[in-house]
Amino acid sequence: MKILVAISKVPDTTTKIKFTAENKEFDNSGVQFIVNPYDEWYALVRALEIKEAGGGTVTTITVGKEDNDPVIRKALAVGADDAVRVNAEPTDAYFVAAQIADYAKKNDYDMVLTGKETIDYNGSQVGGMVAEIMDLPYISNASKMDFEGNKATIIRDIQGGKEKLEVETPFVLSAAKGMAEQRIPNMRGIMAAKRKKLTVVEPESADALTEVVSYALPPEKGQVKMIDADNPEELINLLHNEAKII
């Protein structure tokens, strides 16, 4: 199976978020960047498992400038065969999806996988947009995927439960928890990653449909009100009379 996995560079989960230029830009000073966890732990690792079981290739694709290369090498260290970087600022989800769809169309993949969302903009948009642009079925928030030939049996999250479905390749899928387990790259993987092919391609023209104009931080949380452990009844009283939510 020939699999394309979309990989995004995001600030590490524990990053203290700050902005600069009068709240118009994300302040990346001192920020450690990682592969978006859903892309890495679930989409990429499941792709590798499928390849290990039945043969094929796993290629990652990232839309971004050179500063994405360390994160792309990390995905190669986890086990992807090679990587593609579309050399452009990822201005919005549609622009990114258009680049990925364009590359995927030209190179005839059985599957395009993404994480269920990125932990920076939390959009959950790129996978669905890629599917739509490529005129392929889209399976979102999938937690399990098994194959028999080119037919996949997939479990995905829907409102209030889970749905089991069947679909034939090619398709686009966004991966969630349950799909696979995180793999920590070993030294051999890290060394091998340095020699793997990272192809840089120039972007196709596509318009961004949206634009970030500014950022804001949430208001500081007020002081927590402590309640005596011997008198938890007071909590019920406060939730009723003060917070007015019960």
């Binding site: 600030p11 524990t14 969302e117 939390n122 739509e132 439960g161 949206t210 019920i236």
Partner: protein, 322 residues
């Protein structure tokens, strides 16, 4: 011209976040002098659909033959509705259905999408929507640059108000095509009479501090007395003390209830990412240094095994008195 709201159902009932989407669409329509039209599929009763008028819909388009949440079929439904109503704004709820459908509609119509919106659009300078970003740690203001606009709102961010009114219900049955995804079976998460986590206003959640699955009865009791849903932290789901669908946090489900009570959960940043949109957070923990207290509105430092049974009694007394 119209503002459309996508309405989803769960076992024949309209979901809470769909009412919010209709309310949001009606508010936008009020501002722009348009009317709000709800679009839905499946099994909601005609009475429930008419009642969407109370939340501001003047009309409801319903495709009853479409039963499955098939993203590309529902995208076609919305595309046809946009054309039929001459809509310029479409509102979704950012739940599993919204995440599956809104991006497709955005790409199909080349209409800019802001997903995870937490407020009404600012139309004074263009069309700018505030959305949650960085897993709840910040907000981003997004300008939508296209003529048609799609907004997917986070549950419980703008609320809903019921007024008077009745919507006209119209059967709307364009051909939706796309049968490439075949649904085999659907498994419900919640038992009969239980509140699904994503629909809950109040949530009681517990973590490793409870020491074992045999100790969950008091959590279930507290949830029952408050009329809350139950949730858990990641280790609890990973150890299979509780079902996976109860796991809230970065890798689990993100929720935004009015009240989140966390019992025996330390409050790792990954857990907070799934609950920091809650309106009021209560933390009960033996460790006064637990980081969760910094994100809490109310806190109790104490042993859950002593505190929670007392809370159950207090909640019971409160329920009896109110």
């Amino acid at each position: 011209m119209a503002v459309l709201a996508f309405v989803d159902t769960l076992e024949g009932s309209i979901t809470k976040s769909s009412y919010e989407a209709v309310h949001y669409a009606a508010k936008v329509a009020e501002k722009t002098g348009e009317s709000a039209v709800a679009v839905t599929y499946g099994d909601a009763s005609n009475d429930d659909l008419k009642a969407l008028g109370k939340f501001g819909a003047s009309k409801v388009l319903v495709h009853k033959e479409q039963k499955d949440m098939n993203p590309r079929a529902l995208t076609t439904l919305m595309q046809e509705a946009v054309a039929a109503e001459g809509a310029d704004v479409v509102v979704f709820a950012q739940d599993f259905t919204g995440k599956a459908v809104a991006p497709l509609l955005s790409a199909r119509l080349k209409a800019g999408l802001v997903s995870g919106a937490v407020d009404y659009p600012d139309t004074d300078n263009g069309f700018v929507v505030k959305k949650s970003a960085f897993s709840g740690k910040a907000f981003a203001m997004y300008s939508i640059k296209t003529e048609k606009k799609i907004i997917s709102i986070l549950p419980n961010s703008v609320g809903k108000e019921a007024g008077e009114g009745e919507a006209e219900v119209v059967e709307f049955t364009p051909a939706l095509g796309d049968t490439r995804i075949k649904v085999l079976e659907v498994e419900k998460e919640s038992g009969d009479g239980e509140i699904p986590l994503t629909e809950a206003d109040l949530v009681v959640s517990a973590g490793r501090g409870l020491k074992g699955p045999e100790n969950w009865q008091m959590v279930l009791d507290l949830a029952k007395e408050l009329g809350a849903a139950t949730a858990c932290s990641r280790p609890v789901a990973d150890m299979e003390w509780r079902p996976h669908h109860e796991h809230v946090g970065q890798t689990g489900v993100a929720i935004r209830p009015n009240l989140y009570i966390a019992i025996g959960i330390s409050g790792a940043i990954q857990h907070l990412a799934g609950v920091n949109g809650s309106k009021v957070i209560v933390v009960i923990n033996t460790d006064e240094e637990a980081p969760f207290f910094k994100a809490a509105d109310y806190g109790i430092v104490g042993d859950a095994f002593e505190v929670v049974p007392k809370l159950v009694e207090a909640a019971k007394a409160h329920k009896a008195a109110n």
